[in-house]
Symmetry: C2
Subunit: 419 residues, 2 copies
């Protein structure tokens, strides 16, 4: 732990609140397990309600479970939306998403206090703290569900009807934790989000604030490999149509393709399910999720072509058929340059080291930037560790990030990006 | 379907009973789903009780759920144990195991009728029809659980405490279907089992009866591949320790090793589980079951050495560690030659085409042959299909197999193998 001697009382309160929130769904290894609409997620959401209400914000849940903390300083004006998500992967770190929501809340507390000071000028826009529902997508697919519904990319009914592996729907899970409301969400004017980098580029260069200028492009595929059930003991190799062999070749192929584009292509298979998954049965079906990501769309197109060439070979080699069940992709898209420029000015004014970065992971702000000018900020991750219980960001960095976010939101509320 | 015009009334009754039993746990595709101690398994067991009792056999369940149908023709004499298993893989064929139990029951019915005919001579041994518990091992590991307990290879308490994926113990599952008793099982003198071949060698050569002379040797391994959770989007490839990549390389390696010993080595991975199995998390752990089988123990030893060489390479290539959690193996062991010879004589007398075969799959008789002289018989499988809903054996073959089994058991009961 770093020294907190230079922290203000407000900074110390923020660090303390962050410790408190990390107790919801805490795991033995120092991480958290707060999958979307699980009980720990619900408990943490109701704790956040109390925190926001104690500071004069009005809390409402919208129809897909996004949690809003509203402060109307200018009656009728649209809102600067600031936040992230508090759900997590099954065994995850404490910072991913949660840091961004708490920083948004504390930024709002600081601004509300400023606006209420004697002689203060009123802002031009109101502020809405948001805790997006199901950013992670581990329990309910797709990820970024709450912000996708809010930005009109995913129909509400589709989201609510989505079921987890146990057959529980989003609607029932949200009702179970009492987090589904009738609100439609506020009218947005701008958006800001702060998040840990989840990579090591900022740490390596000693940078405190990342100014996110665009996201990597991604192709996500759901493949179903079809084989034929057979006895693992008695069936001769030539007769086998082993779906797991085909799927395994696909996992290996994904890595081989990444190795052809060192540093500029990330490939992964995170989820893979085998049927019937019995010790003595040659698997007849494997479902898997594969993704390709790159900052360079031309590289992504080449990787996609290589993957499909390889799939045709695998179908022959493993005597299986590979079905592409569902595919989803997004291009490299910039965050609004005027937002990046505003953030650069703020960082310079606050004397915080900074550089432009791309985000390799998806964020709710990736959705928001398609409807309003959006500022996305990063703080460093120690060793770049993420989606792991050992995820860590230093207290001095989360405190610096909060100061940065507060001032960005302050200027957005004051109309800095108005033309 | 083949013509049944040459079937006796007894044969027709057997085929009809087989159709009836195939309805328990029937699947839409013509197969069955009767995992050990599931409700369909329980329903079928109680149906078998009725069938056996109606023909004068006494039914008892032993402490591990083996179901015994006893007929004591000679008070105090030991028993010829004849049977197989009625549990199945999750989506399985109708013949595997079930055929052998019903053939045992009908063989007993025919012999009991013969012994009760006026002027008939009493046999030297009694007959016990058995339905072994959990031969398949898909729900509860290990496979061949009931016969392993009966033959003293697996402690009763270990078996009863074994849990399925949902945490339900064998003891509770057996109690749930009312199939756990206090019987210890009869004293065995000999054993006989009939089963489908689950391969295509007999069908290809037009052989009706397989005389099983020995089993293939097998090595079964449980591997745990350890990596490190990371974000699939943001973590650079060089930093990844992807457990699924390592596991996939192991699956591919198993097949490559089989390809080096064409026709004489079977390798498989039937079960593989990924943790945390989330779309956006590099897997930190994969558990998988891998087996190597061969009729040639020298080949098996070479395959084992190649596998472990390959594992060391995979640990480096995928930046993972591979733990061998549990391993189980059995050598090539012969069925008693005098039993094979007896069966050959019976087949010749019945004018049934026959040949010696090895069994590639494990059977309960593999356990039984270690404690008493045991005769194992096969009937052909159409296209060698097994552990698959399309498993099929012609009516004329199941009826011929029943005649064969009846006469083998008759001679065993009459002391044909007594020295």
């Amino acid at each position: 732990m770093t020294s907190t001697t230079s922290f203000t009382a407000q900074d110390t309160a923020f660090v303390r609140d962050f410790q408190t929130m990390s107790a919801f769904g805490a795991t033995a290894n120092g991480g958290v397990d707060r999958q979307a609409a699980s009980h720990p997620d619900g408990e943490q959401r109701h704790w956040l309600t109390g925190l926001l209400e104690a500071r004069g914000l009005t809390v409402r849940f919208d129809r897909v479970g996004n949690q809003w903390g509203l402060y109307e300083a200018v009656p009728g004006a649209p809102y600067v939306v600031v936040g992230s998500h508090m759900d997590s992967q099954p065994t995850a770190g404490r910072y991913d998403g949660a840091y961004g929501v708490l920083a948004a809340a504390h930024a709002a507390f600081r601004l509300v206090e400023r606006w209420n000071a004697p002689g203060a000028e009123a802002p031009k826009f109101n502020i809405a703290v948001v805790n997006w529902f199901n950013e992670e997508g581990s329990r309910f697919k797709p990820s970024m569900m709450g912000s996708s519904v809010y930005t009109g990319k995913l129909p509400l009914d589709t989201a609510l009807a989505t079921t987890d592996a146990a057959g529980i729907s989003v609607q029932d899970a949200l009702d179970d934790i009492a987090c589904r409301g009738s609100f439609d969400g506020p009218e947005p004017a701008y958006c800001a989000e702060i998040h840990i980098e989840q990579g090591r580029s900022m740490e390596r260069e000693g940078i405190t604030i990342g100014l996110v200028s665009s996201n990597w492009a991604a192709n996500k595929y759901e493949f179903v490999v079809h084989g034929e059930q057979a006895h693992t003991g008695s069936t001769i190799i030539a007769d086998r149509r082993d779906a797991l062999l085909g799927a395994s070749m696909l996992v290996v192929a994904a890595r081989e393709i990444a190795n052809r584009f060192p540093g500029v292509l990330h490939t992964s298979v995170g989820q893979l399910n085998v049927y019937p998954n019995s010790p003595v049965v040659v698997p007849s079906r494997v479902n898997l999720l594969l993704d390709l990501r790159s900052a360079d769309e031309a590289v992504l197109a080449q990787a996609d072509a290589l993957l499909h060439e390889r799939i045709a070979e695998i179908e022959t080699l493993a005597n299986v058929s590979v079905e592409q069940h569902h595919s989803h992709s997004w291009p490299v898209t910039p965050y609004q340059p005027e937002g990046v420029e505003l953030a650069a000015k703020v960082a310079a004014d606050l004397r915080l080291s900074n550089k432009k970065v791309m985000t390799l992971a998806g964020h709710d702000s990736t959705n928001m930037k398609d409807i309003v000018p959006t500022v996305m900020l990063f703080v460093p991750s120690v060793d770049g560790i993420s989606h792991n219980e050992h995820e860590y960001t230093k207290d001095e960095d989360i405190v610096a990030g909060l100061a940065m976010l507060t001032e960005v939101v302050n200027r957005l509320c004051n109309g800095a990006l108005e033309v």
